[in-house]
């Protein structure tokens, strides 16, 4: 009986306390890690979705613009001297008016921005050179777009050849300060492969969030058909 009472009133020993603290610490650290990994993954997933959407949207816009161009007017730095980075720029002609209300580009032209400009015979008038390139914004790589208006009016109905015009220099377009369009952040590379009458474009997007990283290539083949 006396033994029973003694046993019942006994408190927790230091050893028991240490074990309880050790187990609690392990559980708390595990839960903390789990929460941190979860939060990291949430930010990573959000960044991943954003970068994927940016890459697809950029590719879609490039597809729309390039299909309105002509194969003779497309220039990629793959055909440039090997001293240049072969994969950081793409140049092509456009017949779309982007200069606001402009009735001077062709007789009878309404002049609205976004119009495809044609002469009285219905032929396309090439008025801009468009350049897509990988540049930097706030120290981070991004896909940028710029353009230069060709000499005119009158504008040529023949597809302009960037090499013949001396415009086959992506560095020249990179130096243009305005207008520069910011297309998408997180795009770190642009690769172009010239095929017969078609162009394969690959955009590489990168995400780094915490310990997670993703590198994604989005590619398609485009036929400039005008």
């Amino acid at each position: 009986m006396s033994l029973y009472c003694k046993e019942k009133s006994r408190g927790t020993s230091l050893f028991e306390m240490m074990i309880v603290i050790a187990i609690s610490s392990i559980i708390l650290v595990s839960i903390g890690n789990l929460i941190r990994v979860g939060v990291d993954y949430y930010f990573y997933s959000t960044a991943q979705i954003e970068v994927q959407r940016n890459a697809l949207l950029s590719l879609s816009i490039m597809t729309q613009e390039l299909t309105g161009s002509t194969y003779e007017s497309v220039y990629t730095e793959n055909s440039a001297p090997p001293t240049l980075d072969p994969n950081d720029g793409l140049l092509f002609a456009s017949a779309v008016n982007e200069d606001g209300v402009d009735t001077d580009v062709a007789p009878g032209h309404q002049g609205y921005p976004g119009d495809t400009v044609r002469d009285s015979g219905g032929n396309l008038l090439w008025i801009n050179m468009i350049c897509y390139y990988i540049g930097e914004v706030d120290g981070k790589k991004a896909l940028l777009r710029t353009r230069e208006r060709l000499a005119g009016p009158p504008f040529s109905t023949n597809p302009p050849d960037p090499v013949a015009l001396g415009l086959n220099d992506i560095a020249h377009f990179k130096a243009i300060v305005s207008p520069v369009g910011f297309m998408a952040r997180g795009i770190t590379k642009m690769k172009t492969v010239e095929k017969t009458d078609a162009l394969e474009i690959t955009l590489t997007a990168e995400v780094k969030e915490g310990r997670n990283w993703l590198e994604m290539d989005v590619s398609t083949t485009i036929v400039p058909r005008n």
Binding site: Q52, R53, L56, T67, W213, S219, T220, R225
Partner: protein
């Protein structure tokens, strides 16, 4: 005797039963996790396929009556997404086609269908092997009118 019995620990059978139960629950939970991961990947791919289909359909509508079928002349028309992460590489090919059918009762209308087929980890897809695989499809339809 009674006191000795009360202080007895678990026997081997009880421990094994407990371990088995625990293992079953853990394996079930892991399976659930894997299923959820696959469902997330599938929904991501469906979202991309829908995006591709929507953009192409927009282009068809912008091109107008009689011009949609010539929009993507390069075959196979596709968007390829290669993802590289620390856990590995995954490739999904979104192949699309535009079909134009005349309206059964009106010559001034045509039915445009945009179909996007997609499959994961299949690399390049061509006509000979695509149909034999478990493909998934997103399909959009619209009528185009001759007079806009």
């Amino acid at each position: 005797m009674l006191r000795r019995r009360q202080r007895r620990g678990h026997n081997l059978l009880e421990a094994m039963l407990a371990a088995m139960l625990f293992a079953t629950v853990v394996v079930g939970l892991l399976g659930l996790w894997e299923m959820q991961f696959q469902a997330m990947l599938k929904s991501k791919e469906t979202a991309v396929a829908s995006f591709v289909a929507e953009k192409i359909m927009e282009e068809c509508v912008a091109a107008g009556f009689g011009k949609a079928k010539d929009l993507y002349s390069y075959k196979p028309s596709q968007v390829k997404v290669d993802s590289r992460t620390k856990s590995g590489t995954r490739t999904t090919v979104y192949r699309f086609e535009i079909t134009v059918d005349s309206h059964p009762s009106s010559v001034d209308q045509e039915l445009v269908t945009v179909k996007v087929y997609y499959n994961r980890d299949e690399g390049e897809v061509d006509d000979s092997n695509f149909d034999s695989r478990g493909k998934r499809t997103v399909e959009y339809h619209t009528y185009l009118n001759r007079n806009g």
